[in-house]
């Protein structure tokens, strides 16, 4: 099976109305090339599960301006002030989650967990409408798994089977999101032969990865640049 694909080819997997997971903590560990290609794709009504929605007019922020996003699920949209504007105009639905709950729900989606109880958010506005349960004298909130049609993730290296390793804090949500989507596209800076990665160092085993593309845009000190 040939998993190594062209960005232009694999991006067509995404369809209007899809739920997408997009890795990254801000720009760090975000699949910049795939996001860029997505801005040129004719789709709309997307639900985006990502910690942030980029910055104003940058990354996922471009998709927002293009009106392609129907709903955003994440923990910190403050970094793009246009998110609030779109929300106020009724153009965007927002589901704000504590960052730990967001990451745990993605893991649950990938791990076949039907729901879980966490103390996080119990007694706060984010728990409104959620089932609350007392366990050992403390209040816990029932949280549901998150799943997606497609996950766009970033890794440092892939072998041609799809085994992935990450780089420093660019790891973040990526190893979780690969587990929770029907189709997983990994953008990587380097593609190596099978056997070049040590079996002990592989963070994401290949069974989670459907397609591999090589990055064209990368994050440098001066910002996002062509590779």
């Amino acid at each position: 099976m040939q998993k190594v694909k062209l960005v232009e080819e694999v991006i067509n997997t995404i369809q209007s109305g899809d739920i997408l997971m997009v890795g990254g903590f801000g720009l760090v560990g975000a699949p910049l090339t795939l996001i860029d290609e997505l801005t040129r794709l004719d789709v709309n009504q997307l639900t985006i599960i990502s910690n942030n929605l980029g910055e104003a007019g940058k990354g996922l922020g471009i998709l927002l301006r293009q009106g392609k996003i129907k709903k955003a699920i994440g923990s910190y949209f403050t970094s793009n002030r246009e998110v609030g504007d779109f929300y106020n105009q009724g153009k965007l639905d927002i589901q704000l989650m504590p960052q730990g709950t967001m990451s745990e729900s993605i893991r649950a989606g990938g791990a076949g967990i039907g729901g879980y109880y966490t103390k996080t958010s119990a007694g706060t506005e984010l728990a409104k409408g959620k089932e609350v349960r007392e366990i050992d004298g403390e209040l816990y909130v029932l949280e549901k798994p998150l799943k997606a049609n497609v996950a766009l993730v970033k890794a440092a290296k892939a072998d041609k089977l799809g085994n992935l390793v990450y780089y420093k804090t660019a790891r973040n949500f990526n190893p979780l999101m690969v587990t929770a989507a029907d189709y997983v596209i990994a953008e990587v800076d380097e593609i190596v032969e099978v056997g070049e990665l040590s079996p002990e160092e592989i963070v994401t085993p290949h069974l989670f990865v459907d397609a591999i593309v090589e990055s064209k845009l990368i994050l440098k000190k001066e910002g996002v640049v062509s590779k």
């Binding site: 704000l96 504590p98 960052q99 730990g100 990451s103 119990a122 706060t124 420093k168 804090t169 000190k221």
Partner: protein, 217 residues
Amino acid sequence: MSKESQELISKRAAAELQPNSIVNLGIGIPTLVAKYVDSSSVYFHTENGMIGVSELTSEDDFDPSLVNAGKLPISEGIGASYFNSGESFAMIRGGHVNVAILGALQVDEQGLIANWAIPGQNIMGVGGAMDLLSGAQKVIVTTNHTSKKGESKIVKKCTYPITSLRKVDLIITELAVFEFSGGHMVLKELMPGVSLAEVKDKTEANFEISDSITILC
């Protein structure tokens, strides 16, 4: 807040950290605490997936893929390791982080904290604040004593949405240090040159005064 106040608060918070403890620093004043701690004996955890955060030695010499929860560049201490966001919050929620130092919009006399949302404004971000309150063994609040408008941030009851049902352990401001013990808020220390009268004047919350109150200098 003045640079002097920030320094005062950060230094006092740094003194609270036991050797070998695992510490998570929030955005803002908490981040400054690292400057006053020997990072070879305290291990900084950042919720985006690392333990062993170390200060940058030079502002120009940074790796754009190595950042803290405030998205600021950091460096890698000796013995550091990386993990994904889910594992990071499992550590936090599971009680494996000894101390979290957080900023606040309000803290009330029960120890409840509000630090993520302002009534009447869109709520657009929460980040890891709720998880840190749920899980950290000890929570220290570092904050200005009063808001920009001059209102006390140490209030009788939070009017802003609370971040957690969990109560904080310590409040450090540029005027004083309060501890919560047995459900009571107790004034423990006065910052250098600060009078008890000033603290009473600028604190809306009711508080007790420790028998062993210290005046820092």
